[in-house]
């Protein structure tokens, strides 16, 4: 096996960058740890330890000289599965020695800066269509399809805009579900929609913390108790925010 010699500092920087991108994009904790350690091993660092929590990464490498440890703070997390995939494939090509450290650093920086998300309008459209489809899946009638689409789309739009305005996740989710409840109640009152319950359930679905729940379970089972519990708490908070937003509307009816 060909082992490249690099300064521990540089290797750690690249590993932490990869870890940071993955964690910010919503990868599972064990995948982040695994990727970082594999990359370090490929760059010739035999012993490395990574401790990943949803809010920060601690990475320690034993190279030549004294052991170095670095910490990266993660403050903003979103869901961007494309970035996870890209970093994953970069790490694969590092492990099979297809690219060297400089190249990897360059590629990762590129991924970090790129904005790969679908256009915002497409996302809102997707949320709206998903809401409509969920209505049908939960045995709603086709008459309610359009109201549910509008309510779901507006809810998602509200979520993103409120979050830009005031980056407190709990509050923007609360307001988004409040809008959904309000719109649905309005539609039913105007006679455009029939079943209030079904419309609300369908439109709320795009806000549901599905990724968080899935990752929380996988982390817990992989033994990452801290990450699993904190992701579970985040999912619970989101569910609670959605529930209270709807509840406020319902209590006025």
């Amino acid at each position: 096996m060909e082992v490249m010699n690099h300064s521990t500092e540089e290797v750690m920087e690249v590993c932490l960058l990869a870890g940071k991108i993955m964690l910010q994009s919503g990868a599972e904790t064990y995948r982040v740890e695994d990727t970082m350690m594999r990359m370090a091993a490929a760059f010739g660092i035999r012993q490395s330890h990574s401790y990943v929590t949803p809010t920060g990464i601690i990475f320690s490498a034993e190279g030549t000289g004294p052991t170095r440890t670095k910490l990266t703070r993660i403050s903003e997390r979103s869901t961007d599965l494309k970035k996870v995939t890209m970093v994953n494939s970069i790490s694969r090509s590092i492990s099979s020695f297809e690219i060297d450290l400089l190249e990897a650093k360059h590629l990762l920086k590129e991924v970090d800066l790129q904005n790969l998300t679908f256009p915002f309008s497409v996302q809102v459209a997707a949320a709206a269509i998903a809401s409509g489809c969920f209505l049908i899946m939960f045995n709603g009638t086709w008459n309610d399809f359009l109201p549910s689409m509008i309510a779901g789309g507006c809810g998602f739009l509200g979520l993103v805009y409120f979050h830009r305005f005031l980056p407190i996740k709990f509050f923007s989710e609360f307001l988004a579900s409040f809008i959904i409840g309000l719109l649905s109640a309005l539609f039913v009152k105007l006679g455009v929609g029939q079943e209030l319950d079904k419309i609300i359930i369908g439109s709320v679905m795009p806000l549901v913390p599905g990724l968080l729940i899935t990752n929380a379970v996988r982390d817990l089972m992989a033994g990452h108790l801290v990450s699993g519990l904190s992701k579970g708490a985040e999912a619970f908070l989101t569910a609670f925010a959605i529930g209270s937003g709807i509840a406020v509307v319902l209590s006025f009816l």
Partner: protein, 148 residues
């Protein structure tokens, strides 16, 4: 007819979720298919009066197994496929009903609905775990054969 309607809407809904989660464009259709199969199992089992918890468990298990297979075949992380596939099975309706009863001060009914929603979430968790276990067991067996 009803099944067809369910199949189409679940396919579109899961694919749309792929867009919201920004899954790679070429995997959107696969996401939709994964979600569709999961939902098919769920709908058919509920139609046959099977227990909802059991239906959710089986559907999640299937979703996770297909996701593992796809992930291996396309060399991508598993979550890309499993996350959107699991979404339709999340007990949003029950949680909503529970919330509604809480607001209307019908606590007894609300708690029982909340308990059911909790059980369903547990079923989703178990489905994911079972497939993970299966995956690890298969990997272990393959590894042993290679060592021999």
């Amino acid at each position: 007819m009803k099944i067809l309607e369910q199949l189409i809407t679940s396919f579109i809904a899961t694919g749309a979720f792929g867009i919201i989660f920004n899954a790679p464009t070429q995997s959107l259709v696969k996401c939709g298919l994964v979600g569709m199969f999961g939902w098919l199992i769920y709908v058919v089992m509920v139609d046959q009066r099977a227990d909802v918890v059991l239906a959710t468990l089986s559907a999640t298990f299937l979703v996770a197994v297909i996701s593992h297979i796809l992930a291996k075949a396309y060399k991508t992380p598993v979550i890309i496929f499993s996350v959107s596939g699991v979404i339709p099975l999340v007990p949003g309706g029950l949680a909503y009903d529970a919330m509604r009863n809480f607001v209307q001060n019908d606590y007894g009914h609300a708690v029982s609905l909340a308990a059911e929603a909790f059980l369903l979430s547990g079923a989703i968790a178990f489905g994911l775990v079972f497939s993970e276990v299966l995956n690890q067991v298969i990997r272990k067996i393959n590894h042993h054969e290679q060592v021999k």
